[in-house]
Amino acid sequence: MSDIYINDWPPFSPQDQNRRRNVLEAARLMVNAAMTAPNAGGVPQVEAHIVHGYKEQMALARKMEEMASWNPVMDRLFKYEAVMVRESDCVLLFGDFRAAETPMDASCGGCGGRGDCSFVYERRTTALGQIDMTQPRRDVFVDGPLCTVRVGDLGFAMGAAVFMGHRLLVDTRPFATVGMAAKQLGYCPDSPIVVGVLVAALAKNPYVDINTDYHLHNQSKLIDSVRKQYSLARQAGADYRLSDPGYDRWRERVREKRQREAGGRPARPDQQDKEE
């Protein structure tokens, strides 16, 4: 019999990895839920990744921070949610590889309000109804227009994953920014639109109760501040073998306590030594 010790601190330590492995099991089930989610016509269209590990999560978070400057409106979303990527146990990525290249062709009107699919096809390079996606646009986060039905199906996949996560009592939330950054890094390579689902099983849900300026003031930053400040603060100390003000102060407290207990009389020296 072996003992599996679990403690979420320090992050990525062996005891924390034991915990993260459990979350990975939940994440795998979440992906399966997404793969079997309801969709229009039962058409296979979803690709997924489970991204985990210090290096991988940091790379994704850094890309999000880089992308913050690309779009002022999303600046804070990217920055705040990059912190959440760092704090997560793993990241699920879901893409719909049919959303641009092979639409539903159901003339639903969702893309442009017309009773055909012309809105999408007119804005693409096509031949005989085949959409050429060999040279996607790079100047936007998402190379649209996309098929509304396909994106809706991706939403069902995302919803199923999150629903499963909640059933398994892990904290989880879907994010646009995570998907956009993951796409830039090459995840879900066949999908024009990618959604990120963050997953964690920590004492505190990392996706709620977010203070302002979160990219500047968060747990990692505060801990780092302790490391930074304390290094300086300890330099006021002297050689503890020769001089120790804290020890002196402690002896003084003990003496005072004994005096109070003895009704104000000084404690006997022999008793004082023994207790100390």
Partner: protein
Amino acid sequence: MAVYDGSQMAQEQLLEVAKLCAQAVLKSPQITGKLKFHLKIVTGEDLEPIMSALAALGKIDLFNMASAMCWTRTYYEGRPPVLLLIGANARHSDLHWNCGACGFRTCGEFNRYAAETKPEPLLMGDGPTCHWLNLDFSAACCYACATAWTHNVTNRIEIATGMAARHIGYLPECNYSLGLPLGPCEDLYWYSRSAFQDLVSYDLYMNNFIEAFPHHFAAFYGSGKNEIKWKDEWWKGPKHRGLEPPRDPAVIRSLFEEAREEVEKARQKKEALDARRKETGA
């Protein structure tokens, strides 16, 4: 103490599950945090105008008729499902993310196009649609489905029912809606649809199949004749069966007009029911 009819109780419980599904929609996590849902729960005779509209829309698209057949059968068997309608308006975006997914460079361009473009009649969705709101909408619908599933209530999220209901006046604030039939109390009623099979003959089914997948029925490609094995003794000819010619646009227009008129009648029926309910205070 009392003895209850279990089947009757199960039928009555469908309404309670519909309420739980509505809660699931409202509770579902969102990417945007900005999507507002509009929900209706439709029961009993109020389902009739929706079934009529579905049948009318079935003249345009077969999948509407499939839904109409399933609804009608179980309704007239005396075990009507409860319908949860889930709608939202994703035709306007105040995200300002300018992500490009909709096909426009900015949310402003998207909103201008939406304001200037009147959707055509009888669409499944009145586009354009903001895809991030669309994702949130679908995830919420998935929450409703999963909630029904965990309560052992057969269900199937449907574009058809949502569209039919919207076209007769439900959820007027929404550009898109889906319908979630809950019940009847049996396993997977909305799948392996025997009601639908009664409508579609073997020949019609196989004809559609050959048209959709001609390569599956193709003979030797190298002959240069693209021969299709379209019947049992296909080698006896005629050998060169091409695809069916496109339907006459005039016929399609006429069917569309018929559907519009019938949907309008269904709308009037719904309004009459609404008025009666108002009078009686029900």
